[in-house]
């Protein structure tokens, strides 16, 4: 099968570009720890979230110097805890599950953007360097009140 010289060169360039992208994101994910959100496969009974620690007590738990574990529950149509307030520079390790349907958890202006599944726990960490009132919203359609599902994180 004959392939024109310029097409061969093109494909080498194109494939090299794709490999470069894959290398950059692969290194970022597996070397620098910039993984997509995922859990070490912690399952949970979605009907028993309110009784299952640590989600029986949603909120902040200190985990180090200006570092907190945040255990959150998403439900139609809000989040527990309702409000979060942390000092500037705080690193938050989010652990979140749903007690009903699939939700989203997105902090606008940041890379915190993950799916919240009933039966699973998702995890992501973020350091809030800049003070402000961050908008947290559900970006996965979850029912009639989906557009009301939001909260804020106040970083002072």
């Amino acid at each position: 099968m004959h392939i024109h010289r310029l097409e061969k060169i093109w494909l080498v360039i194109g494939i090299a570009m794709l490999i470069l992208f894959l290398a950059v994101i692969g290194a970022g994910a597996f070397v620098s720890g910039m993984q997509p959100p995922t859990s070490h496969h912690h399952a949970i009974d979605p009907d028993r979230v309110a009784e299952t620690p640590p989600f029986d007590n949603p909120g902040l738990v200190p985990a180090g110097d200006n570092e907190y574990d945040v255990h959150m529950v998403a439900y139609a149509f809000g989040y527990q805890p309702e409000k979060l307030e942390v000092p500037a520079g705080a690193k938050l390790n989010f652990h979140i599950t749903s007690s009903d349907v699939v939700h989203g958890f997105q902090i606008t202006g940041t890379n915190v953007n993950m799916m919240v599944m009933p039966g699973e726990i998702n995890q992501l960490s973020y350091t809030f360097d800049k003070p402000g009132e961050y908008l947290v919203l559900c970006n996965e359609y979850c029912g009639a009140g989906h557009e009301f599902m939001s909260t804020t994180i106040i970083v002072s």
Binding site: M1, H2, H4, E7, L11, G14, I15, L18, F21, L22, I25, G26, G28, A29, F30, Q35, P36, P37, T38, S39, H41, A43, I44, D45, P46, D47, A76, D100, V101, V102, G104, Q106, T108, G109, N111, V112, N113, M114, M115, M117, P118, G119, E120, I121, N122, Q123, E133, L135, L137, N139, E140, Y141, C142, G143, A144, H146, E147, F148, S150, T152
Partner: protein, 557 residues
């Protein structure tokens, strides 16, 4: 003729078979009716989200959105594609469908139409406000899932009809290479059949029993995974027929030749292999899937970019060589030699052009952790309004303008060419406003699939409003484009009687023989199966072994 003859090159002046014309037109009629209905929904959505109207009590935003997704992404597309593919195999594989193939086509059509009708009713009754992705554990009426199953199984019957026609032609033309359009149709339906196994499995085994109450819980992760196993190749099911037009029809329209038959077939084989084992790139932000397997499927996704890079080269080469044959000089002289006044070229060409930003966006979306920037934002909506709603849609419109008169023995008049070019430009302007704004405001965090809200007047959300207004303007312009299109279709069906060519390109003379390897279907199917098993076995077993007990039904609307 008592015996079907194998038509060489299919550029004979034979009129399109009358009985096959009926089958093709039936599919196109449902396709464009769905487009119109879906467009009404889309217009309303845009105006609501732009803060310009409020919906009356009887209808909800998410209902409209469900209807819009189902009608546009499942009905408009599938019906058009099946109709177009039947027309291509009728024309190139004997000049007429085998009675058995045509019968399967009609049964498939009736099943798909029944499913479409049932789904529409259930959606309008607000019993299936689950969007076209119907994610568990939101539970719609069982008749919604039954309707979807009817559409899918109906399409399988049509696929089998196409395979039967192909198999008959190969048997009657031993040793001969199949016509390119027919080969591509077979790849498309093969892709579809393999892909829909996933959605059929989740609908038949999980959703229907669960929605009837025969089974208490559903495994949400497995259902999502089976859906997206289907959901990604779904977009290639849309894209491949557009590629068929670009590869085979456009060269004829511009008075050129197909650049390379072999490379065109190779690109389709690569698309078949790599468009299925990649569903995880729609699930990158989900828990319960290991980052290693997400990344592996990202790598496989990047491999499916390669046949599109090949296609870009082939298409530009076709234009350049055709242009040079007409005397064009220099790097881009061929541009001035293209038939810009011919809507059969203009509309699909604009589809090709838009595929550049469309594809670029797709590569970004699939880039593992980078997906966090865009996941579930309006950027994604902007992306697929470029890919399916512009590249594929404009190409389908550009096909319809000659396909309808070709099968109905009417003419594509100069006036219709002009109207079609105007329609294409209206579409591009509307899409620039709408998709351009969607991409931008998505980067600023505005979520998709969400009705008008300011999140209690949060400054971020207030900042999105001007973009949502621009989206509404774009959507209104697009709706005007749909109305013009529908008007044109009616005019086409009443245009003066005559012969309209079914444009099928010929390969350049100097091209070498295509390897027979491409039609060793067992080999390619085997490879697809291997890749699917490789990409999915371990993560699926992982999910099935989870101690997550599953979810009960929820009706949250």
């Amino acid at each position: 003729m008592s015996q079907l003859q194998s038509v060489q090159g299919a550029d004979s002046v034979q009129p399109f078979d009358r009985r096959d014309a009926g089958l093709v037109m039936a599919h196109l009629a449902v396709s464009f009716a769905a487009l119109l209905l879906g467009a009404v929904a889309g217009l309303l959505q845009g105006l609501v989200r732009g803060g310009m109207i409020e919906l009356p009590a009887g209808i909800g935003y998410y209902q409209l959105l469900t209807a819009h997704g189902v009608l546009m992404a499942l009905v408009f597309t599938t019906f058009f594609i099946v109709g177009f593919l039947f027309s291509g195999v009728s024309k190139t594989l004997g000049g007429r469908l085998l009675p058995g193939a045509r019968r399967l086509g009609w049964i498939g059509f009736l099943m798909m139409s029944a499913g479409t009708a049932i789904a529409t009713v259930v959606i309008l009754l607000n019993q299936a406000t689950v969007l076209y992705t119907f994610y568990a554990p939101m539970k719609a009426s069982p008749y919604f899932y039954i309707a979807l199953a009817l559409v899918v199984v109906g399409s399988w019957l049509s696929g089998i009809g196409i395979f039967l026609q192909y198999r008959w032609w190969k048997a009657s033309n031993r040793g001969k290479l199949s016509p390119l359009l027919a080969f591509m149709s077979v790849v498309t339906m093969l892709l579809w059949l393999i892909a829909t196994l996933g959605v059929a499995a989740t609908v038949l085994v999980q959703f229907i029993p669960w929605s009837f109450g025969w089974v208490e819980r559903i495994d949400v992760m497995v259902s999502r995974t089976l859906f997206w196993y289907f959901g990604h190749p779904l977009v290639y099911f849309w894209l491949l027929p557009a590629y068929m037009c670009w590869y085979v029809v456009i060269p004829k329209v511009i008075g050129g030749k197909i650049f390379s038959d072999a490379l065109a077939r190779l690109s389709f084989i690569l698309l078949l292999l790599f468009s299925i084992p990649v569903g995880f790139h729609h699930q990158l932000m989900e828990p319960g899937i290991s980052p290693v397997w997400k990344y592996i499927q990202v790598v496989l996704t990047f491999m499916v970019v390669i046949p599109s890079l090949m296609t870009a080269f082939s298409l530009f080469a076709t234009f350049e060589l055709a242009g040079r044959a007409k005397g064009a000089k220099g790097l881009f002289g061929w541009v001035s030699k293209m038939p810009w006044g011919d809507v059969r070229f203009f509309a699909p060409f604009m589809g090709m052009l838009v595929f550049i930003p469309a594809g670029a966006g797709g590569i970004i979306n699939a880039s593992n952790q980078m997906n966090a920037v865009v996941h579930n934002t309006l950027w994604v909506t902007g992306h697929f309004h470029l890919t399916v709603a512009t590249s594929v849609a404009l190409t389908f419109f550009g096909i319809a303008y000659w396909l309808i008169p070709a099968v109905m023995n009417r003419t594509l008049t100069p006036r219709l060419h002009k109207l079609g070019i105007a329609q294409t430009i209206i579409w591009l302007v509307g899409m620039l406003f709408m998709s351009g704004s969607m991409h931008t405001v998505g980067l600023f965090g505005s979520p998709r699939r969400t009705t008008y809200t300011t999140y209690q007047d949060h400054p971020d959300a207030l900042g999105w409003i001007p973009y949502h207004v621009a989206m509404a303007i774009g959507g209104t312009i697009l709706f005007a484009g749909v109305l013009l299109l529908v008007y044109m279709l009616f005019e086409l069906m009443r245009s003066p009687k005559g012969y309209t060519e079914y444009p099928i390109g010929e390969t350049a003379e100097k091209a070498e023989a295509t390897p027979k390897l491409f039609e060793r279907w067992g080999l390619w199917i085997g490879l697809v199966v291997f890749l699917i098993l490789f990409a999915y076995t371990v993560p699926l077993i992982d999910m099935l072994n989870s101690s997550n007990p599953g979810s009960r039904p929820w009706v949250t609307w």
